[in-house]
């Protein structure tokens, strides 16, 4: 059954969209990641203009992070002051990202910006995840427990001025690093249509030294606000948020996430991570090949002032 997407200005199959939402939701539930970094490329692969894919996916992530975040809220596993500071940086980053997006869109280079960002981040994250999970798997075979990775010292960063006490994280650190991290992730969120948890979570653990029990909740907390602002900024500046598209992805996404979360609990963590790493690398390689190989059609048409 076809449905007309009023902003993407194309017809797409409803079941394909719900199915894609379900598949990515399933994986995100199973692996505990946001899934935006898989959904945006998938939307581009089925022909949604990249600019619309990014903005609509940000809208969908608001829904999935609210539903995920509520559980952490009730468990009091959110460091709210930290979340608000990350969010402040994130809002500024989202604004900058959308402005950059708008500028490059006028120059006809936004698709390139999106693709390159994805190739770089999927490549780096996929490689790191794959390496770590393979090390764990090999170590488990040998029967020797793996040493938890000892991150380097970053304490001088945390001792910058404007220090603040974060009681739930049991930290007394400068607000500058969380602001900078929030800003950086906000920019990525606006350009890539992701929540940015895959950057935020490691940054919180290894740079801010937050205890792991508040990391995911706090990350989701700030993702809600950052993706909400990305959605609104894109709607205002670029008119690229397709609510019909986002809504269909939400339906599939939330259902898939519930199933995935249940299945995920029964599977081994490091094998899951290796599998996810392969998927991430696969998507990254596909995007890279699309950039490197000569396209079948060298020309493209864009309506002045609108379109992808």
């Amino acid at each position: 059954m076809l449905i007309y997407l009023p902003i993407a200005e194309m017809s797409a199959n409803i079941m394909t969209l719900i199915g894609m939402g379900g598949l990515v939701g399933f994986m995100s539930g199973m692996f505990g990641v946001g899934g935006g970094f898989l959904m945006t490329p998938l939307l581009i692969f089925i022909g949604v203009p990249p600019a619309v894919a990014v903005a609509s996916e940000a809208n969908q992530i608001v829904a999935s992070s609210v539903s995920g975040g509520l559980a952490y809220w009730q468990r009091r596993a959110i460091d709210i002051p930290m979340g608000l500071i990350l969010m402040s940086g994130g809002l500024a980053g989202a604004y900058s990202g959308v402005q950059l997006f708008k500028l490059l869109r006028a120059m006809g280079q936004v698709d390139l910006l999106i693709s390159l960002s994805y190739v770089v981040f999927l490549g780096v994250i996929g490689t790191l995840m794959l390496r770590e999970s393979i090390q764990v798997i090999i170590a488990a075979r040998k029967g020797s427990p793996v040493q938890a990775r000892r991150p380097g010292q970053h304490s001088w960063i945390l001792r910058l001025p404007f220090r603040m006490r974060f009681r739930r994280s049991k930290l007394y650190i400068s607000v500058i690093p969380p602001l900078v991290i929030g800003y950086f992730v906000g920019v990525l969120s606006a350009i890539m249509g992701v929540g940015g948890g895959f950057i935020m979570v490691p940054a919180m653990i290894y740079i801010l030294r937050m205890p792991t029990n508040v990391v995911i909740g706090t990350s989701l907390f700030q993702i809600i606000f950052v993706t909400a602002s990305v959605t609104i900024f894109h709607a205002v500046e670029n008119q690229t948020v397709d609510i019909v598209l986002a809504g269909l992805l939400m339906i599939g996404g939330v259902l898939g996430a519930q199933l995935g979360a249940r299945l995920g609990q029964r599977l081994r963590g490091e094998q899951l991570r290796a599998l996810l790493a392969l998927i991430v690398l696969g998507v990254g390689v596909k995007l890279l090949l699309d950039l490197v190989n000569q396209p079948d059609e060298l020309f493209s048409l864009t309506r002045m002032g609108v379109g992808g």
Binding site: A63, A71, L112, M250, V254
Partner: protein, 259 residues
């Protein structure tokens, strides 16, 4: 980035310039109508076939031996970009601006339009997307650069591939030189706006009848509201999108927690 208004556009001009006002006597020869007085794009729109038909008054000039129907979409400014390889990857390079060209252009005719009347005359009347290509070869026009010629060809090709430029030479049926019916296929992704219909009747290559009409194409229903809101009330639209998402996320969290 290179960006310039296409000099070769001059060769596309026949499509754009307002044609010499066609005498009203021509208009009295043709009585025409369209199967629909407006096209409504609903959320499940997948294209349709439009029927355009009419009668020819044979009193003034006799029977018609050729009929051409043109459906033209609202004018658009289009940017054509060509990818080239830089630092090992394919990126958008030269940009060509095609200003004020019809977003949709379909010609239905009773015979191949090239057989009906000479190219120069077709260019005058604005009949046929291929007039563009043909007049491109016209020695009188200033010579476009190879890049510009290639851009014009690519523009036409992409428009045809998207079913936005079309020519069908057997889509008009003439009955006894007095009645005719034409079919034009409308694609699913047709641009919205004010379309014009034009009907031409010919006798041995001479225009004997002309008629013009309007055909609005609009998105209707929820899609229309969302489309309008997205462009005219962007902030509200964005907030609405976020509100839907928050509600959906919250509702799902509640539903699944109960289990």
């Amino acid at each position: 980035m290179m960006r310039f208004t296409l000099a070769a556009l001059l060769v596309l001009m026949p499509l754009l310039v307002s044609r010499p006002a066609l005498a009203t006597e021509f208009q009295n020869v043709l009585v025409t109508d369209v199967s629909k007085d407006q096209i409504s794009i609903r959320s499940n729109y997948s294209g349709e076939t439009l029927l355009l038909f009419g009668a020819i008054d044979t009193q003034p000039y006799g029977e018609a031996d050729g009929v051409v129907v043109v459906l033209r979409g609202p004018a658009q400014d289009i940017i054509l970009r060509k990818k080239n390889k830089q630092f090992g990857i394919w990126v958008n390079g030269p940009a060509y601006t095609f200003g004020d060209l019809p977003s949709f252009y379909a010609v239905a005719s009773s015979r191949p339009i090239a057989d009906l009347l000479p190219n120069a005359r077709r260019a005058e009347l604005g009949i046929g997307a291929d007039v563009l290509k043909a007049s491109n070869l016209d020695p009188k026009t200033p010579h476009p650069t190879p890049g510009e010629s290639e851009a014009v060809a690519a523009f036409l090709r992409l428009k045809q591939q998207a079913d936005l430029f079309a020519a069908q030479s057997d889509a008009v049926e003439i009955i006894h030189g007095k009645l005719f019916r034409a079919e034009i296929n409308l694609p699913a992704g047709m641009p919205v706006g004010a379309y014009t219909t034009e009907f031409f009747a010919f006798q041995k290559g001479t225009l004997i009848g002309y008629q013009k009409g309007e055909l609005p194409v609009d998105i209707v229903g929820a899609g229309h509201i969302l489309h309008e809101a997205a462009y005219n009330m962007s902030l509200l639209y964005g907030i609405f999108g976020v509100a839907v998402a928050v509600f959906m996320g919250w509702a799902v969290a509640i539903i699944f927690r109960r289990r």
